[in-house]
């Protein structure tokens, strides 16, 4: 049961084939069995989930439809606000804070009948690629607990991979959904910027952050994305249109679809990943797609631009954690000393590193050389992708340069950690959607993810391609 797809669970619950309570109990049992080993969660909401499942069962009993996600257990990355429930961002600085409101996605999930089963671990404030930068300790990869699940949404990826929840939500600022999805062997989607409301998502880098789904199947991810997408008047950057319409096109196939291969893609992917990529192109060609070569010259500068823009925005977004109104406070003789003591004690090393980087990049005298130039590169990348999409409908790249690495492998070398996001970062800079779909295994039998990229709001085409890859994935 714990391995049933979300689509099946929802169908069965809506049609009174199984009870939401049974579904929740199965998943809680799985959590009991393996969570101490995985540490996917900062908080398991067992009582709340049971109560919610009972409500859904009551609704079904009186003939009401609880919605498209009826009874489906879902885990939330712990940077999404949940009313009255601690929201920590895996940081000491938010110690004790309970948001007085729900994020828009949380409201939508409730309205769709989903059952929130817990809040998942992440790299502090979503800054990292391994979930090792958590104030509450790392999450481990369910496929091999000596390895990382990727990050920053490592807890959400691991929760789905381990069968703790049928679905989960993560946030993706530079690859934080797609890279852990690849490492954990699940589907992970970063939607078009503005397709899903950010209201209630604790900001890391506002112009790059986007919430998206994790699921075991492409169809499940599609179902969840349809539920959480659509305009939100509380988010000014939310696109003014209704929910995305994807699921109906999943089986359309790829005949005639132009699939782009980026000839000047930055190198660095390991041979096992490269081999799977070749097989992915072949699989799509076999399915009737046309493989075309495209160039994206500025792709390679994405990482550099990202590590100026994201820290710059973060330095401002994280300034509010000052000990004045909520969260952690270290008392000191005066206000400035209190600020410094609180922030020194409350933030971890990676967060401090990025706050300093960003503060520097925005400083008088340095703005033009760093932040200003990074914005120019960002525009250039967008122009290059737009040109590539003239010739291709979707692009294929690895989601991660390697399969899951061991805990501690990259913690002493921030640059090597940053390189994990080489292939995922550009779509955050352009705002275009991207997703990772499992495609066989690599070294040590660990999952490999293929990334499908598409132009803004072309999620249906992207998912259609991912569904074809899913059908043709090596067993």
């Amino acid at each position: 049961m714990a391995n049933d797809s979300a689509t099946d669970i929802a169908w069965n619950v809506r049609n009174n084939v199984v009870s939401a309570t049974d579904v929740v109990e199965q998943h809680l049992a799985e959590i009991d069995r393996r969570e101490s080993e995985i540490h996917a969660f900062n908080l398991v909401l067992a009582d709340e989930a049971r109560a919610r499942a009972a409500e859904i069962d009551d609704a079904v009993a009186v003939g009401r439809d609880p919605g498209p996600l009826a009874g489906v257990p879902i885990a939330l990355k712990d940077n999404m606000c949940t009313r009255g429930i601690p929201t920590t961002c895996s940081s000491k600085i938010l110690d004790g804070w309970k948001p007085p409101y729900d994020a828009t996605v949380v409201t939508k999930l409730r309205e769709a009948g989903a059952v929130v089963i817990g809040k998942t671990n992440l790299d502090e404030f979503a800054m990292g690629s391994s979930t090792e930068n958590s104030a509450f300790g790392p999450t481990r990869n369910p496929h091999d607990t000596s390895r990382v699940p990727g990050g920053s949404s490592g807890g959400s990826a691991a929760a789905v991979a381990a069968g703790f929840s049928a679905l989960s939500l993560g946030s993706d600022t530079g690859g934080s959904i797609r890279q852990p999805a690849a490492l954990c062997g699940v589907v992970g989607v970063k939607p078009t910027y503005g397709a899903v409301s950010r209201y209630g998502l604790v900001a890391f880098a506002s112009s790059l952050d986007q919430i998206g789904p994790f699921a075991n199947t492409v169809a499940d991810a599609s179902l969840l994305l349809e539920v959480i997408s659509g305009h939100d008047p509380m988010d000014s950057t939310s696109i003014r249109q209704g929910p995305l319409d994807i699921t109906g096109q999943l089986d359309f196939g790829v005949i005639g679809l132009r699939v782009g291969r980026i000839t000047d893609l930055p190198e660095g992917a390991s041979p096992d990943v490269v081999e799977r990529m070749e097989q992915a192109f072949e699989a799509l060609r076999d399915a009737g797609a046309e493989i075309v070569d495209v160039e994206v010259p500025a792709f390679t500068y994405g990482l550099t631009a990202y590590y100026l823009i994201a820290p710059a925005e973060a330095s401002s977004n994280l300034a509010r954690y000052d000990g004045v109104r909520f969260g952690h406070r270290v008392e000191a003789p005066d206000t400035n000393a209190m600020y410094m003591a609180t922030r020194t004690d409350g933030f971890g090393a990676e967060v401090k590193r990025r706050i300093m980087l960003g503060t520097y990049a925005l400083s008088a005298g340095y703005y033009d050389a760093y932040y200003g130039r990074a914005l120019k590169v960002r525009r250039r990348i967008a122009a290059d992708f737009a040109a590539a999409y003239e010739r291709a409908d979707v692009l294929l790249t690895p989601a991660s340069p390697t399969v899951a690495f061991h805990l501690g492998d990259k913690t002493s070398d921030p640059m090597s950690m940053y390189l994990c996001d080489t292939y995922t970062i550009p779509s955050n800079l352009t705002g275009d959607p991207g997703m990772s779909v499992p495609f066989g295994t690599g070294d040590d039998g660990l999952p490999v993810g293929v990334q499908v990229l598409a132009p803004a709001l072309q999620e249906a085409t992207m998912f259609r391609t991912a569904a074809e890859l899913e059908r043709r994935a090596p067993k």
Binding site: P99, A103, S316, D322, V324, T335, L362
Partner: protein
């Protein structure tokens, strides 16, 4: 007091101190009269219990996002168009700094792309002050520092913060450094306030803090380059604007004469000692690390919206003053014109004229007698029209008219002619007046001789005697004219 109408508020009299002239530019912050805050649905209301008009956005809680208030944009546009600005595509930026009453540790403000640019405002005397820009931004919360001295954060025991004001929409209006005297600066503030109120953008009350003025002051020898400027804060009334600028300019001249350089700095006006004091120097200024606010989108009002706002603007105070001045034969900057227009009683004066009254006399009466009345005085325009008609036709003297007007005001109207009759005010016939004049001359031959010899003072005694004989009903001007005729023939 009829001569008061010829007094003017001309501001172009040059300020000069030991050969130096002053250069003044003003930055005026006004709270917009919106129903809700700039970026959230909490009420924008002054005087409520502390921390009641708050929400996740106001408090800068994690995950909260700003959504721009359309009414605030429209009010900023109304103000901008009223001061002849161009409304343009604009963006918001973050101004980053730490302060306990600044919830997000950044202020959302328009920076390099403000909504209104390149306007001007004409002072009543016609002097034109350029307006560089008017931009939208959010207000901070309000700190109260308890314990310690002077209400400052340093040395206080603890601080209380009220976030009701945080997120209240402000417009900052930045003038060009065009003003050259305290009078011009005061006239600018008054004119801007009148415009803000007229277009409904703000109640613009300096005493309640809904209008705050910072003054940039420098001095120079005429024709020289601009000097180093100091910014004066905490100027809380129009009168203080004049005083603070006067003090600061003299202070700077004193420094220059003593051979000391002016340091660019922010100074605090102290109302009690009448001086400005150093608050912080330029070297201490924060690096605000401005960058475009990623949580908001570009504000680009379409031309149709701009035109709709433009055509919905009321007739502005300057145009109303010119209209009233033309109708009454005064200068637009005559005190009575300023006062009556400021009280919104100009339309009433014009209504009196339209009802057949004399506009000039109506202006005088309204200014003198209707200070406590509003836009629509209780005395019907027709009643005042009759009164002013009787005056100019010589049926009533100025003194008598005042008495009749007092009755009209007390009774909220009435028949001026009947009141005059009841008081026994009848136009004195000329032969009767001539008799009284002749009697006065006969009774005081000395005074008469002196008057004829050119001693103007002597006339007082003669006129006084006639007024006494007529029990105050004689028209002073007519008496004087008769005396002159007797003397000259």
């Amino acid at each position: 007091m009829s001569n008061s109408v010829s007094e003017t508020a001309t501001t172009d009299a040059a300020w000069s101190f030991r050969g130096y002239e002053m250069v003044v530019g003003l930055e005026v912050h006004v709270e917009l009269a919106t129903r809700t805050k700039l970026f959230s649905a909490s009420p924008n209301r002054f005087g409520d219990e502390p921390n009641t008009n708050i929400d996740p956005v106001t408090l800068g809680l994690p995950g909260a996002l700003p959504v721009l208030n359309r009414q605030a944009v429209e009010l900023a546009m109304r103000l901008g168009l009223a001061v002849n600005c161009t409304v343009q595509r604009s963006t918001f930026a973050r101004k980053n700094y730490f302060y306990p009453d600044m919830p997000k540790a950044y202020q959302i403000s328009q920076y390099d792309e403000p909504i209104c640019v390149d306007g001007w405002l004409d002072l009543p005397d016609g002097f034109r002050v350029g307006i560089e820009r008017a931009h939208l931004e959010e207000d901070t919360g309000k700190s109260t520092h308890v314990g310690g001295t002077g209400g400052r954060i340093h040395g206080s025991d603890h601080s209380l913060i009220d976030f009701n004001r945080a997120g209240v929409p402000l417009v900052e209006i930045v003038s060009r450094p065009d003003m050259r005297s305290p009078e011009q600066a005061k006239a600018y503030v008054n004119e801007l306030r009148a415009i803000l109120v007229a277009v409904g953008a703000s109640d613009a009350k300096m005493e309640e803090g809904s209008m705050r003025v910072d003054a940039n002051v420098s001095v120079r020898l005429p024709g020289a380059e601009f000097g180093t400027r100091c910014e004066i804060k905490n100027v809380n009334s129009v009168r203080s604007v004049g005083r603070a600028i006067e003090y600061e300019a003299q202070r700077q001249v004193g420094m220059l004469e003593a051979g000391e350089p002016i340091r660019q700095e922010t100074r605090h006006w102290d109302e009690t000692d009448g001086r400005t004091h150093t608050l912080r120097s330029k070297e201490d200024a924060d690096d605000y690390r401005y960058f475009q606010e990623p949580d908001l989108v570009v504000v680009d009002p379409d031309p149709e919206w701009i035109e709709r706002v433009r055509y919905s603007l009321p007739v502005l105070p300057a145009a109303r003053r010119i209209h009233l001045a033309e109708a009454t034969g005064q200068r637009p900057d005559a005190e009575a014109i300023l006062v009556v227009t400021d009280r919104d009683q100009d339309a009433y004066v014009l209504a009196v004229a339209a009802a057949g009254g004399d506009a000039g006399r109506a202006l005088v009466h309204v200014k003198e007698a209707f200070a406590d009345e509003g836009e629509r005085p209780s005395v019907p325009a027709a009643a005042l029209a009759t009164l002013t008609r009787m005056e100019v036709d010589g049926e009533l003297t100025a003194t008598q008219a005042k008495q009749v007007l007092a009755e009209l005001v007390a009774g909220g109207g009435g028949d001026a002619r009947a009141i005059a009759a009841a008081k026994g005010f009848e136009a004195m016939d000329t032969s009767e007046l001539e008799t009284m004049v002749d009697e006065a001359i006969a009774a005081q031959p000395d005074a008469w001789a002196k008057y004829c010899a050119g001693e103007a003072k002597a006339m007082g005694a003669l006129v006084g005697a006639v007024m006494k004989a007529s029990k105050g009903q004689a028209d002073g001007k007519a008496v004087t004219a008769l005396l002159e005729r007797r003397r000259d023939t």
